[in-house]
Amino acid sequence: MTNDAKKDELLKKLADGVLKFEEEEVATAANEVLALGFDAYEAIMNGLAKGMEEAGRLYEEEEYFVPELLLCADALYAGLNILRPHVKIEDRQKSRGVVVIGTVQGDVHDIGKNLVKMMFEVAGFEVHDLGKDVPLEKFVEEQLKTNAELVCLSAMMTTSMLGMERIIKMIREKNPEVKIMIGGAPITQEVVKKFGADGTANSASNALREALKMVASLRKMG
């Protein structure tokens, strides 16, 4: 087998392994990628991430549900943990950006937030997940600490949605450049405008698409 054919086979194994949530197959293929001296970054983006994107598509078509996506994510992480330490320094700087994400205080609905988080990780963002029922100030502190370009707030209820407005104000005071995305059932374009956020999305993959646009515009400015 030629080198290229072998590489393609491994990339496919990584993608399929994620899609069919076969953690061990993914780990084996990831180790083989390293043993044969193939590029770790390429294996992540064209192998693991491809599989996860396909999983996301199946979810939107109601072929997959939340449990399936969570298992795909486990397989993905099994591969990421092996490959990430071997990503070349120059590729690491290609990181799509740093994100802080969490579900706002008073709210424990975190299924949607976790899906959004997964998509960001797949796409190569560095994600700091604060979890659920997160005190408002914590978002501000974490943004300052990590110098995140993007803060993602999730809320499924009215009270937590109102908390978002306060978080946005606090973050803007300290750091007007940061992009802020909000999401969850009660969030509409009107709310985005009223609260002064930068955008919203009704699904995890749309969230990623929006985020990529925002980060790109930030970098053009900078």
């Binding site: 939340v66 449990p67 709210d107 424990v108 975190d110 029922d133 009215t158 009660p186």
Partner: protein, 346 residues
């Protein structure tokens, strides 16, 4: 004809499967309003841990608007507390903030970790809820139906175990999840008996954690349906089964469990549902308690009531807890729209 019957009798007739032609407006879930809080001077945050405040607040939606029930409790963490999860009541929050109690720490990992209390009537906030049921009975004197609710076994599992772990083992090792659910099913049945003995007229089993936004319908059928069947077979009726979130794909399962009435939220397509379950089962819900009742205008409310009725519901019943900040004019519009629709029907 239903002349001379109390509101409570009419509600219970309907939940026992007898349609009497009169369109009713009530719920099996939370329905207190900030208007009720204002009138009684009770802060929402205090009402979860004080029986007299809970009972007084629960009666306000009937007293202020004519809503035909009083339902307690207001949060969904009672069961998790019973099996030992610490709860955050947000008692020190701002008085005007509506914060619902949440589970602070999920202490269960497998069926072996679950210890059901030897005396359920004294566990967690069960004594508080039963006392509030007693107080409500004294207050309403049999004129208005008193409802309560219990989470379904899968939802309790999600409240007491790491949710992502629960969801993953549901696929990988369903037999382990079945063991957990069997224990919680026992808890639900005992709790229903306790509430019923304390004066609850009807009980709603809320299994929103297993809706099809989260779980594959085939897994609902395999894991959740058998447990619900046991509950509806053994617990005291009338019992309503409620699922908010996507539910059309699990309607046949829901219909098989033996509920007195089925309740869904606005994500359900009522006409599809009727095709699945036929004309006989009592169907409730579909009325959007937030985007319409809280955020809409009175004319949105009227339109939505008519759409629910046209869709084939047997009572106007919000698809989930009413969010407390509902404007007074919308509550009034709701009750007025039901009255008008009632005339239209008769």
């Amino acid at each position: 004809m239903s002349v001379g019957k109390t509101s409570r009798e009419k509600v219970l007739e309907l939940l026992n499967g007898k349609r009497n032609g009169e369109l009713l407006c009530f719920s099996g879930m939370g329905n207190v309003t900030t208007e009720g809080m204002k009138q009684t001077g009770i802060r929402f945050a205090e009402s979860h841990t004080d029986a007299s405040k809970m009972a007084a607040l629960a009666a306000t939606t009937h007293k202020l608007f004519g809503f035909e029930c009083a339902v307690i409790p207001f949060d969904v963490a009672i069961e998790a507390e019973i099996v030992g999860c610490p709860i955050n009541f947000y008692t020190r929050s701002h008085p005007l903030e509506i914060l619902y109690p949440t589970v602070k720490e999920k202490v269960i990992r497998s069926a072996g970790d679950i210890k059901l209390p030897s005396d359920l009537s004294r566990a967690g906030r069960v004594p508080l809820v039963t006392e509030a049921l007693n107080l409500l009975s004294d207050d309403l004197k049999g004129a208005v139906a008193i409802g309560t609710y219990i989470m379904g076994p899968f939802t309790i599992a999600g409240q007491t175990m790491e949710l992502s772990d629960l969801l993953k083992i549901s696929l990988k090792k369903p037999e382990e999840v079945a063991e957990v659910l069997a224990v919680y099913t026992e808890l639900v049945i005992q709790l229903a008996e306790t509430y019923s003995a304390a004066g609850a007229d009807y009980i709603t089993i809320r299994e929103m954690g297993a809706c099809s936004d989260v779980l594959r319908p085939a897994l609902f059928k395999q894991l959740v349906e058998p447990q619900l069947r046991r509950i509806f077979d053994q617990a005291p009726h009338p019992l309503v089964l409620h699922i908010c979130g996507k539910s059309n794909g699990i309607m046949d399962s829901m219909n098989r469990v033996g509920a007195g009435a089925l309740s869904v939220d606005q994500k359900n397509d009522l006409r599809e549902t009727r095709k699945t379950i036929g004309p006989k089962p009592i169907l409730l819900g579909n009325f959007d308690p937030f985007n319409i009742l809280v955020k809409g205008t009175p004319s949105d409310v009227k339109r939505a009531v008519q759409e629910c009725v046209n869709g084939g519901v047997d009572a106007v019943w919000p698809g989930c807890d009413i969010w407390p900040t509902v404007p007074t004019e919308n509550m009034n519009a709701l009750m007025q729209a039901v009255k008008n629709a009632r005339k239209g029907r008769n």
